[in-house]
Amino acid sequence: MAAVAPGAAAQPSPSSTQVLEVANLQTYFYTRGGLVKAVDGVSFSLVRGETLAIVGESGCGKSVTALSLMRLVADPPGRIVGGSLRLGSTDLLRLDEAAMRDIRGNRIAMIFQEPMTSLNPVMTIARQISEALMLHQNLSRGAALVRSIEMLHLVGIPEPAQRAKEYPHQLSGGMRQRAMIAMAVACNPEVLIADEPTSALDVTIQAQILEVIAKLRRELGTALILITHDLGIVAETAERVIVMYAGRKVEEAAVGRLFARPLHPYTSGLIHSIPRLALMRRESGPADGRLLEIPGMVPALSNLPPGCSFAPRCAHASELCRREYPPYEEKRPGQWAACWHPVVGDSGG
């Protein structure tokens, strides 16, 4: 599928099509090692049919953000201590567990990285999909089964009627991931969260799954939050991107803009530190020599430096960066970043 041209997707204006609004989300973990602010003041919104990617490395808070949206953060040790999660007109943080259960898997659903651990091994595929349909859509057992088979067909599982009767272990990794996607979209959710949906899969299977996800978005109009560390997947799938570092949002922009002119030195570092295939470079010729490195390592969340969390690894860091966390502001139209010394000039990619 063709990616969006740079700068084409403008910042969506808040309108009636807005499906999700996350404001100042704070999810903390109370551990023996101290307070861990896994998600610290993250805000974003999502309109119908839009794909938003959240990228970052391990420990940046992207997965905890996803679990917070589903209200699946284990308590203890974790807790959503602040902010609001508005799905349509419902504030998810004000719901009791019973009311949340009506929404989870129904209006907001999630696909996990490892399908084998998220599917029930002792239930057939059909029963797992039917369960959600019977619970949320009040379908009869028979109607739910018919719909389950339709869903399996939709996600490209061959011989869906046959496959529906099988157990998860009888399916290959790719087929299991398709089945999980079928289950997630069975109730036609407004928001679908995919947390590293293809990271456990081989590259040819990954391409198939990404194709299925793109097709579902087109056909069902589901808004998608895609959580990944793979910038290739972001570039090909997302319209808008949020970059997270150490629990906070450090940059946000339309995908074309972000890759062509990243503002935050961390975003720029990520984009330039990955080797690229010859077929994917704009200039031909072998890529030799050294890769650009981001020095140092991701800081422990329980022991963040004062000021900007990225400052210890940043070539542009000044005294100010080490003292004070930079404000998150719109530096260019439609492009936000939290940085005292944003990258200027074209990087061109």
Partner: protein
């Protein structure tokens, strides 16, 4: 590309079958042909990249070279000397020359040993008796891989993933090996850390003249680090040539499928997607003929019957496909 030097490592017809056992009596009910007649060479100072998807046998090849897995048949030669059937004692001097770095820096280091002792252990095993001598050599190695000598007394859990992988590299370097097998050495690392370890490996190669067998599923990393690349599918090499040719003019339909499946990290580049359909077949029951034929968009009747041999299609460009150059 012509072989620049006499090959340090020469692998011929390497085959490894694992028996599949079932039932109480553990009777053998079949064989997994994990590696099925693989041949390649690696010269001094050269990196051969070995790519393929899960179950293709690339890890088994890497481990067989060090005889961590005993090959079923075939030969492995170091400087022309066949080490395939040497006894443990006879193998020892050759083991020094070949080391391995594993994928997971969390499970490949003993959590109860101090980092310095982990790196120094190969020295101890291979007869460096003096403790002081070992410590000074370990300190040197720490410095070389970008760790501080002061960290020698820390335990693995006190290091980050990238630092642990540096410990793994230091351990591999301890005995001045000539060949290092890297089995997905950067796959478990974060993107920003991957570049650090790749650069380290390439610097070490330049300085020490090391040879690498670099096993990975990440095509972009393999292209960056390798001189030559072999692509494996279900136990066999399907294409093998220098990296520039392989990544710009692939011949085998599977190589092409792999390259086109990798998402492009640049939204300004539009590329028609050619998504290859179907699953990777089970190595327990591979399709007859060309293993790739059920997924191959160009497959013909012949592909279902006859396994194609790896042939030199263009000078120094090998591929196993019936449809090339007929």
């Amino acid at each position: 590309m012509v072989e620049p030097v006499a090959p340090l490592l020469q692998v011929e017809g390497l085959t490894k079958h694992f028996p599949v056992k079932r039932g109480v009596l553990r009777r053998t009910i079949g064989q997994v042909r994990a590696v099925d007649g693989v041949s390649f060479t690696i010269g001094a100072g050269e990196t051969l990249g070995l790519v393929g998807e899960s179950g293709c046998g690339k890890t088994t090849v890497g481990r067989s070279l060090l005889r961590l897995i005993e090959p079923t048949s075939g030969s492995i030669r170091i400087d022309g000397r066949d080490i395939t059937r040497l006894s443990r004692a006879e193998l020892r001097p050759f083991r020094r020359q070949m080391q391995i770095i594993f994928q997971d820096p969390f499970s490949s280091l003993n959590p109860r040993m101090r980092a310095g002792d982990i790196v120094g252990e190969p020295l101890k095993v291979h007869g460096v008796e003096s403790k002081r001598e070992r410590r000074s050599r370990v300190a040197q190695l720490f410095d070389r891989v970008g760790l501080r000598a002061a960290q020698m007394d820390a335990f693995p859990h006190q290091f980050s993933g990238g630092q642990r992988q540096r410990i793994g590299v230091a351990r591999a370097l301890a005995l001045n090996p000539r060949l290092i097998v890297g089995d997905e050495p950067v796959s478990a690392l974060d993107v920003s850390i991957q570049a650090q370890v790749i650069n380290l490996l390439m610097d070490l190669q330049r300085e020490l003249g090391l040879s690498y067998l670099f096993i990975s599923h990440n095509l972009a990393v393999v292209e960056h680090i390798s001189h030559r690349v072999a692509v494996m599918y279900l136990g066999r090499i399907v294409e093998h040539t220098d990296k520039v040719t392989l990544f710009t003019r692939p011949l085998h339909p599977y190589t092409e499928a792999l390259l086109y499946a990798v998402p492009v990290p640049d939204p300004a580049i539009k590329r028609d997607k050619r998504v290859v359909q179907g699953d990777v077949p089970s190595p327990l029951n591979p399709p007859p003929g060309c293993h790739f034929h059920p997924r191959c968009p160009y497959a013909e009747a012949r592909c279902k019957l006859e396994a194609p041999a790896l042939r030199e299609i263009e000078p120094a460009h090998f591929a196993a496909c019936h449809l090339l150059n007929q």
